[in-house]
């Protein structure tokens, strides 16, 4: 009987988990032409990818946007969580409102941000003009486009991560703070010396989650270019996920796309490992 109860999940796992993974490997070792024919090519697709400037461009874009988005997001989420952990009125309402971005649809919000970042009439350029900043063409240039996309990602996820951090903070025993206060530690010191180190398990969860999400980024940059997976006229914000869709479903080069999918997986593993090591060091000096 127990097997019958878990079997629906594992049948689905076989059909939509194991089968696609195994066949992605199979496809990645073959060359496909537009007519549907295929031939064995061994590691040929992987070799071509590693020599393909467009692929490396997508890798650099993905990592660049990930870093620009994630570093400020983690810091903001931490400080926001610390603020949310205080006593104040309308606590639930404020916690709910920082989660509001999460429950809105990604594409809808990306459309709104794209309009906010429009060159000639966008609100962002208008506000910046008050400070004498020259008109920025957010979509046409590499770094500005990364920043624009990073703000979309951060808008969506900062509040969510703050709530997760908040949950972690609430498991830290209060007497630790009381003891520190008696010893004369300032609140700022308490944050760095108690909260941060005690929060490490939560931080690992949040960072790993952000790594998977950030390195598979697709919806925001695609919507930023009106639903086109080229990622700008020069591919300046094409991510690896967009590269895979372009190769597989715009140019129907299945083998190439499948090989890129495995390299994306490798990139995620490396990213997860690096971030795990970084977080483990935070606050863990002694």
């Amino acid at each position: 009987m127990p097997y019958a109860l878990v079997s629906p999940y594992f049948l689905l796992f076989a059909a939509f988990g194991l089968f696609p993974l195994a066949f992605t490997l199979y496809y990645s070792l073959h060359d496909y032409d537009l007519a549907g024919g295929s031939e064995w090519t061994g590691l040929g697709n992987y070799a071509s990818l590693l020599a393909d400037d467009d692929f490396w461009n997508a890798v650099v874009n993905t990592i660049g946007m990930f870093v620009i988005a994630t570093v400020p997001q983690m810091l903001l989420a931490l400080f926001l969580a610390n603020a949310l952990n205080k006593r104040f009125r309308f606590r639930l309402a404020i916690r709910m409102s920082v989660l509001l971005p999460l429950v809105t649809s990604v594409v809808a919000v990306a459309v709104v941000f794209t309009q906010l970042y429009a060159r000639d009439w966008g609100l962002v350029n208008y506000l910046l003009s008050w400070f004498g900043v020259e008109t920025t063409n957010w979509r046409a240039e590499r770094i500005p486009s990364w920043i624009a996309i990073a703000t979309m990602v951060d808008w969506r996820w900062t509040g969510y991560n703050a709530i997760i951090f908040l949950a972690g903070m609430q498991t830290i025993p209060r007497d630790l703070y009381e003891a520190a206060a008696i010893d004369g530690a300032s609140r700022r010191r308490q944050f760095w010396q108690i909260t941060l180190p005690m929060l490490r398990p939560t931080m690992i969860f949040v960072v790993l989650n952000s790594t998977i999400g950030g390195l598979t980024l697709f919806s925001e940059p695609t919507t930023f270019y009106n639903g086109n997976v080229d990622g700008g006229s020069q591919g300046q914000f094409q991510t690896v996920a967009m590269f895979i869709v372009k190769q597989g479903f715009r140019e129907f080069d299945y083998g190439y796309a499948a090989a890129a999918a495995w390299l994306l997986f490798l990139l995620i593993l490396i990213g997860a490992l690096v971030n795990f090591l970084v977080v483990r060091r935070i606050g863990g000096t002694k």
């Binding site: 066949f23 104040f88 594409v107 009439w121 808008w155 509040g159 598979t216 919806s219 695609t222």
Partner: protein
């Protein structure tokens, strides 16, 4: 002693956070209720106008966008996936939490592993070929099927059942001669309902938002709502009021869910985070 009341700085920070969280949505409403001339004016308009109803009707009546069909399709996809995932996960969670069987731990590790792999991105080529072979491209079942696999759901319900249904309760029911399925129905289900709610809300929102896979496997003739917005955006790229009215329509169901279940969403997230 420790002072937990907020400083001025904290209050200001919270106010800014609330403002920034709400602003893009407010902006959506501003543009959706204006005219196209207003939308590209410098300086931009800061207050809503009076054209919201008109713009919404224009979107719904736009033959190319198929917006109403998109909304309906998204509703079907999200509902079917939500119900299936909740049922499958609750059954498996009960089994993992309360029953003994050989290979249980290995299977549980397998579930955890599937959570770590972004399957929908990784397996996209074979999944697409599978749908082509089945002749299902452009259909809703092609969107639904890959998402019935949800490792997070099984994990969440296993954790939740462990905590909500003590083993003694299951054993007592068994001594009374209840069959396993009856125990599930009469003992487990009532106890794990809050966990099912959290999983259900999460899954619904995730599916409503899904973009990459529908973009690959569907055509603009039979879109989900996200694809409908994308078509609007591609075809009428400067018709901001039309597009924004569409985006506003697309988030109404999510906002409704949020207003109804916001407390559970916050609570569920915080509980889940501590257990994970």
């Amino acid at each position: 002693m420790t002072n937990w009341s907020p400083t001025i700085l904290t209050r200001v920070m919270l106010a800014i956070a609330v403002f920034l969280s709400a602003f893009p949505l407010y902006w959506m409403l501003v543009i959706a209720s204006r005219t196209n001339a207003d939308a590209v004016a410098v300086p931009p308009p800061f207050l809503p106008g009076g054209n919201l109803g008109e713009n919404i009707i224009a979107v719904l009546n736009n033959e190319d966008a198929k917006f109403l069909l998109g909304l309906t399709n998204s509703f079907i996809v999200a509902s079917v996936v939500t119900v299936s995932v909740v049922v499958i996960s609750t059954l498996a969670g009960f089994s993992f939490a309360n029953l003994q069987f050989k290979g249980k731990n290995v299977l549980l590790v397998l579930v955890l592993l599937t959570m770590a792999v972004p399957l929908q991105q990784m397996g996209v080529v074979p999944l697409y070929r599978l749908m082509v072979d089945l002749g299902w491209t452009g259909t809703l079942q092609a969107v639904i099927l890959p998402y019935l696999l949800n490792g997070f759901g099984v994990f969440l319900m296993t954790q939740y059942t462990r905590q909500a249904v003590p083993m003694e309760l299951v054993e007592a029911a068994r001594v009374d001669g209840a069959a396993t399925l009856r125990i599930w129905w009469n003992v487990v289900l009532p106890a794990v309902r809050p966990g099912m709610a959290v999983l259900g809300i999460n899954t619904f929102m995730l599916m409503w938002n899904d973009f990459m896979w529908p973009l690959i496997v569907l055509t603009p003739d039979n879109p989900t709502v996200q694809i409908a917005i994308t078509s609007l955006n591609a075809r009428f790229s400067t018709n901001y009021t039309l597009i924004f009215a569409g985006t506003a329509l697309s988030i109404i169901p999510l906002i409704a869910v949020f207003i109804l279940f916001g407390r559970q969403i916050v609570g569920g997230l915080m509980e889940g985070a501590v257990k994970a």
